[in-house]
Symmetry: C2
């Protein structure tokens, strides 16, 4: 399997991107293609011991910066994003991984890889941990402003993802809202509710923010703005809890008590001990963006994994792991099949976009 990795994606590119690629390739049969300005990428690669790793470099002189407009990919035809995407389009690679500007990655995917038949707008999907297992949350960032027909299709793609990749039969579908009752919600939510109510999905209606971690739904649809806030807030809350536990354990009466009782090790390992609890550890890990690595962009004609801008080497390595799983599970094929069976409503023809829809 061959995975193209955007060497210029992350905020601190090319360092974490190249390091993560080396880690992912070492000791596995995965072939990595690093795409970016050849001299820079080879210079960075030379810092690593890449023995036993299958890594090649493809030259792409241009770079799409994090603060650039999404549409920069239109003019930058020799950027790592465009070159990488075209390799997947032409079957020269199996998947593309980038920790770059997510709007730009989506635009590059639309222009150079194309949408699946039936898809108006692709969505970034996240698998959110719950007390019962997991929940597919989408969109978490591709479409800051959405329309009811986008959300309807996110529901369709999320349904297919949950059913065919996660193996959940008849996934319970909810729409994220600011109240449980029908009629609660923004205009977008109320209009989408009406569409979903008459659909063939196992639609359970509005779900509130608390219902996601509590596992009330298997698929939760929302616009990319709210979904992004939800995913990052969860991440921040876990970081805040970890910081507070750490701060408390190094000051105040507790370490003193520990010293008094000659048990400093026990006291300091208290938060660590909690992570010995297997399901809790898994839950906390699945909210850590470095562990998650990246999220698949659903609805395009090839596997595209979008990583955090703040990705470190571990995050890039894990994003590549997600790419491998996405290829192995044939997620694109599954969504194409699901769309052709369940689609119909708001169908769009397959193909590359000349303009952003």
């Amino acid at each position: 399997m061959k995975i193209v990795v955007d060497a210029m994606g992350s905020d601190h590119a090319p360092q974490p991107d190249v390091a993560g690629a080396v880690q992912a390739a070492k000791g596995t049969s995965v072939e990595i293609v690093l795409v970016g300005p050849e001299e820079i990428v080879r210079g960075e690669l030379a810092k690593h011991d890449a023995a036993g790793a299958s890594i090649s470099v493809v030259h792409a002189p241009e770079v799409v910066q994090m603060e650039e407009h999404t549409m920069a990919v239109k003019s930058k035809k020799d950027s790592s994003m465009v070159v990488g995407m075209k390799m997947v389009r032409h079957g020269e690679a199996d998947a593309f991984v980038s920790a770059g500007n997510s709007g730009a990655v989506m635009a590059a995917a639309l222009f150079h890889l194309g949408r699946l038949k039936g898809v108006i707008r692709p969505a970034i999907s996240a698998v959110y941990p719950t007390v019962r297992g997991h929940c597919v949350l989408l969109d978490v960032g591709a479409n800051a402003d959405a329309k009811p027909e986008y959300l309807y299709q996110f529901a369709l793609m999320g349904h297919v993802y949950a059913e065919r990749i996660l193996g959940i039969s008849k996934p319970r579908l909810g729409i994220l809202s600011n109240g449980e009752e029908e009629g609660k919600g923004s205009m977008l939510v109320r209009e989408t509710y009406a569409l979903l109510k008459k659909s063939q999905f196992n639609f359970i209606g509005n779900v509130e923010g608390k219902d996601i971690p509590l596992g009330l739904a298997d698929v939760v649809v929302t616009d990319g703005f709210t979904g992004n806030v939800a995913a990052k807030l969860s991440e921040g809350l876990m970081m805040a809890l970890a910081k507070m536990i750490k701060a408390e354990l190094t000051k105040g009466w507790l370490p003193k008590l520990g010293a008094l009782l000659l048990l400093p090790g026990l006291i300091v390992s208290l938060p660590g001990a909690l992570l010995l609890l297997p399901s809790l550890r898994s839950f906390v890990r699945r909210l850590n963006p470095d562990e998650v690595g990246g999220a698949p962009l659903l609805g395009v004609r090839g596997p595209v994994i979008i990583g955090h801008g703040r990705s470190n080497a571990k995050a890039i390595k894990n994003a590549i792991r997600v790419a491998v799983q996405t290829v192995q599970g044939d997620m694109v094929g599954a969504i194409r099949a699901g769309l052709s069976e369940m689609g119909g409503t708001f169908a769009a023809e397959e193909g590359e976009d000349a303009e952003l829809k």
Copy 2:
């Protein structure tokens, strides 16, 4: 001080509403007025020992149901919400507390209490705990669909709240977005960003979901849809963590190990022990809606506290405590003064609304 409590507000009214009112009144100088259908309210009150509590009942035969449209308050002039709001308007009480439909409470406040001068739309404010202290998050539910000028005013009210009630000088103001960089965000966020950038606030730009618990801003403005999802998601995540710790500690190898080591007490009290860490306990408590009780509706001409629909007696008691603090801190006076000093932009005349703006 006299607080009017909507006896018919919560999902399980009048039970929790009356019980919470009794708890709040007992042993304090706070006078409670329960408003609702007299026979029902007196019947419920008779179940309690209200000795030493100053509680009276005001008859309001109509009830606004949770699933009713917000505008039900227009026709239900004899509902507990309308009657309670009018008592505050006419100086017969100092504050109104309701755990009813928050949209209906806002509508009742607009029609029967009126907006402060300079306010286009009121907002529900929440004090979100952070690793450094707290952050005023608004709107958390009054306006599911917002406009840039609403958010500008939420910033103003949040600024006044943080400065005059929480004592934070030059509060750092952020706008919640799906990316840090200027230009990231929904259309609403990008338009509001432009307004805030040229304002007199200490505007720090876009903040992401993770930045709220990490304490990067003192005031975070957002629409009532996203704010509501953020607040409830945080609540749910803490509930999920608690559930998982509890489940783990009652099954698996850990209790067995505890039994083996004759230390079952230690093992079971592990999560409890974490809550002995003072700042962590405070953080977790401040994310528990029963502890928080209720959130002030800012921008109207009197203290109005909105509780969760799912309020239990403890939550109602705590919502009444918030009402007492709001009156004691003269929050309405502080916001009126702040608005007259800093307002001007998008000013609106003070008064009751004939129609919802």
